[in-house]
Each structure stands twice: as C-alpha cells, then as structure tokens.
Amino acid sequence: MTEGVDTHTPRVASTEAEPAGGLFQRLAGWMFPGRNLIPAESIAGRALVTVIAIMTFLAALTAGSAVLIYGASQEWSSLVAREMTIQIKPALGRDLEKDTKLAVDIARAHPGIAEVSAYSEKQSAQLLEPWLGPDLDLKELPVPRLVVIKQGEGETPDLAALRQKLAKAVPNAILDNHRLWVERLTTMARALFVAALVVLLLVLVSMVLAVSFATRGAMAGNREIIDVLHFVGAEDRYIAREFQRHFLILGLQGGLAGGLAAVFAFAIVGQLLSAWVASPGGEQVASLFGTFSLGWGGYLAIAVISLAMAILTALASRMAVARRLSGLM
C-alpha cells in the first residue's frame, strides 16, 4: 500500500489537468494564486462569457467610434478655425474682378494673415459643377466670388479692423470666419462624446447587473461547495476570492472575444470604405472620417475596455458574493 505514496502525483496546485482555456486560468491564477475550487465549466459560465463578449463589443465599438469622431472633429475644427472666406457679391455698377483683386490686396496687407488666394472664375465654376453641371458660364449668373484667407500659425488677426477696411473699400464683401461652423462642430463633438459616455455607462451597468445575477446563480448552484468551505474553516474573503477568480476567467474570455470582434469590425469597415472611397458618397465619408483608421489610441482604448470588462466582472462577482455571504452563517 505504501508504494502509492510515491507513485501518485497529487493534482492539487499542479497544472497537469488544465483544460483548453488554460491561458486564462494561468492568468487568473497568477492574479489570485491558489487552487480553483469552483467548477470551471458550466452552461451558465458559457452564457455569461457570451454576454460579456457582446457587452465588450458594444463598449469597444462606442469607444472606438468616439475616438474616431473626436479625431475627425479636431481635424475639422483646426482646419476651419484657421481658414476664413471673403465673399464678394456681384452688385450693380461694380466690377466683380476689380473688387476681388482689391479684397485680396486688403487681406494680404492685413497683419496676421499668412495666405490669401482668390478663387478664379474657372475654380468657382468647378465648385458649382456638382449642382449646375459642366460647361457652366459664370458670366451669365450672379455668382459671388470667394477669397480664401489662412491666418498664420499662432497668429490672431484683428478681424474687426479687416471688416472695417473691407466695408470701406469693397462694400459688397462679407468676411466669414466660420465661427458658427466651429461652434456647431464643437457642440456636435461634445454631444457625441457625452452620448458615447452614456452608452458606455449603460453597457457597464448592464454588465455589472448581468454578472451579479450570474454570480447569485453560481452561488445557488454551488451552495454545497460554499457550505463545505465554511465548515473546513474558509473565511468569507477566501470564498469570495474563489468566485472572483472563476468570474475573472470568464471575464477575460468574454473581454478578449468582444475586443477582438470590435477590432475586426473596425478593420472590415475600414477595408470596405477604402474600396468604396472612389465613389462620390465614399469621398464624402472619407472627408468626414479620413481613412476610418482607429490608430493606436483607438486600439489602446479597445484593449483597455476589454481588460476593464474582465476586471469589472471579477469585482462585480466579488461584491455579489460578499453581500450573499454576509447573510450566511
């Protein structure tokens, strides 16, 4: 009989019988060392992994979209904020070409202005081509002429003075600094950011609730284990840690699946967009979102969310267990 002592290699604290999901178990074991006392595999566990994966996917999509929109809006804002337009309307008794040249000279002479370029008649016709068709003769139409002004980097030109000068020399000119557009873009970006934050919060709350319910279910299903652990002297925090480890493994599996799905979703949309960009619709979307590339910031946000979901799952289960255990003897 004594041979058994040497020939048997006990399984406790060893890794020989680890199932396929051993990577997550090792990771969870590294974070919370000890033996996994809650059975790892169950139908409820698989369902929860799916729920966590879907929640992570939604949260990652929200965060990725927010990063994308924030980046695009910053780009629009900086472009629009540096650019101004002088619009010279045709007026009776005035020479449009002369007025345009005068406006260009005034703008160029004004301090703080780095670049001034007037749209030629041909360029104006090109601008209107999508609406009025090719072979457009602007001479037959009272179309205003545009002068684009770019302010110098870090310069703040005195726009009131420029307006006064223009009003005196070219009364039919209007200076538009796109302030309205910048304000609208900022408001829209903020609204989108708040909306993304609200969606993210809702997803997190839903996940905490789902995990709490799943934990209660797991506790009810493992009541016998909890009782036995209590009788052999396990403290509540030991039992809570066991559940936390169990749910951390589920959270890591779900978080990784959801995060990867979100990365693939962005990659696929990016690919589709680059194929579609040749069309006029595609050009418009590309001008809004650039190449639809998330960049490192976006991928980092998705990775952080995936990990945060796993940690949140573990913490939510621990809190649910602690609440339930406090009511048990």
């Binding site: 002592v5 006990p10 604290a13 006392l37 209590h230 403290e235």
Partner: protein
C-alpha cells in the same frame, strides 16, 4: 471545551426541537450522542459546529460565547473542529486527495508541506489507491472514509461525527472506531452521533448523551 447552558432550538414557528440542553464536553473526552431518528442529534451537532444559532441559551466554545463571535473568529474556531457529515459532503469536482487536503488548502498552506501527510492518511483509511478518484465513482464506504480523513487531517481539538460508520461493514466500523479512539488518546475530544448500539458497546467507557423528547440525558 464545549459548554451548553439551557440551550433551546426552534425551526421557524414550529415547536422546540431541543429544549433546555445543558452539558459540557471536556478536553480529550469521548462521547456518543444517541437517540431515536429525528430526536435532534444532527441539530445538536450543527449547533456545536456553529452552523445554527440557538433560539435561546448560551453556547461556549473554546472559552468564547458563540453569539459574540465575528465571522472571521467563527472561521478560526472551525479550523479547530473536524466534522464528518452523515451525507459525506465531499466536493464532486475534486479528487479524494484534494477533498482531504481541502482544510489545509483553505488555511493557505503550500501543497509541498502537506502532501506526505495527506497521502499517509489516505493509506491509513484504506484509500491509498483512490487518491485520484472522484467521489462519483466511489462506494458509500469509501466516501465515508474520505469524509473522515478530511475531518482528521487538521488534527482537530474537537471531532464531530454524524453516523460515521453508517455506510461501512462491521469490520471497517471497528477499524474506524479504533481510529477515533487513537485520535482521542492524542488529545482530541470526540462526539460521535450514532444509533448503532453495537458500536457504542465496543467502547463502553465513553460517555453517552441521549436525546429523547427534545431533552438531553447524560450517562457517564
């Protein structure tokens, strides 16, 4: 070691299952707890292992009144008590070895420090070849022995056993009783709940606590 003073126990709004229970369990003592089925033997054991709180009266364990204990203090006290359940209560997803090592595992001990101890006890209760077996494939007697080994592994100050020989043949029952007697000689107080008169007759010098009509009668 254990002191009950006028303890009463009632489940819900029902009648008192246990009434005015007063007794003491001395260190290194051996007693049988007996009585007809449904007399309240298991309830009395559950009071001793702090799985139930008395409806009235006082229970003192290891010098501390149990109603004033915090949960952590209860856990610490339970580490000094070995319990053998009537229905074994082994964890089905753990091997025999893991089940027996469980009390040491929850104490945070490293496996290397107790592996030999657990294997020796497994041999002692005749389960040396079942170290890697799961409870589902073991007989009632084998589970019983694994449950006893789990209670003994911490060398408790107090051992509470609920019908520990109920599922084993007479020869093994005698062997298990000898194990309890040896444990008692090494300093553990033993309480065995049983209605096996044959078992009690094998150790006549043991105190007998008899539960009948919700009251406890003591025969030294």
């Amino acid at each position: 070691m254990v002191r009950f003073e006028n303890v009463g126990l009632r489940y819900g709004m029902g009648p008192e299952t246990l009434q005015d229970i007063t007794f003491t369990i001395e260190p290194q003592s051996f007693q049988f707890l007996t009585g007809p089925s449904g007399a309240g033997k298991t309830s009395l054991l559950r009071l001793m292992m702090m799985a139930l709180a008395p409806t009235r009266g006082f229970i003192t364990l290891f010098g501390r009144e149990t109603s004033s204990l915090t949960k952590d203090e209860i856990s610490a006290m339970r580490r000094r008590i070995g319990v053998v359940f009537q229905e074994f209560r082994l964890l089905d997803h753990l091997t025999t070895y893991e089940n027996i090592a469980l009390p040491l595992l929850v104490q945070g001990r490293e496996e290397a420090t107790y592996r030999a101890e657990v294997m020796e006890l497994l041999q002692w209760v005749g389960l040396g070849d079942h170290a890697h077996s799961f409870p589902a494939v073991m007989s009632g007697g084998e589970k019983q022995r694994a449950a006893i080994a789990r209670a003994l592994i911490v060398q408790p100050d107090l051992l509470l056993a609920d019908e520990p020989t109920g599922n084993v043949d007479p020869a093994l029952a005698r062997r298990l009783l000898r194990l309890f007697v040896e444990l008692n000689k090494s300093g553990t107080s033993i309480v065995i709940a049983t209605h096996d008169l044959g078992l009690m007759d094998q150790f006549e010098s043991a105190k007998r606590l008899v539960l009948a009509d919700s009251h406890l009668y003591i025969y030294d």
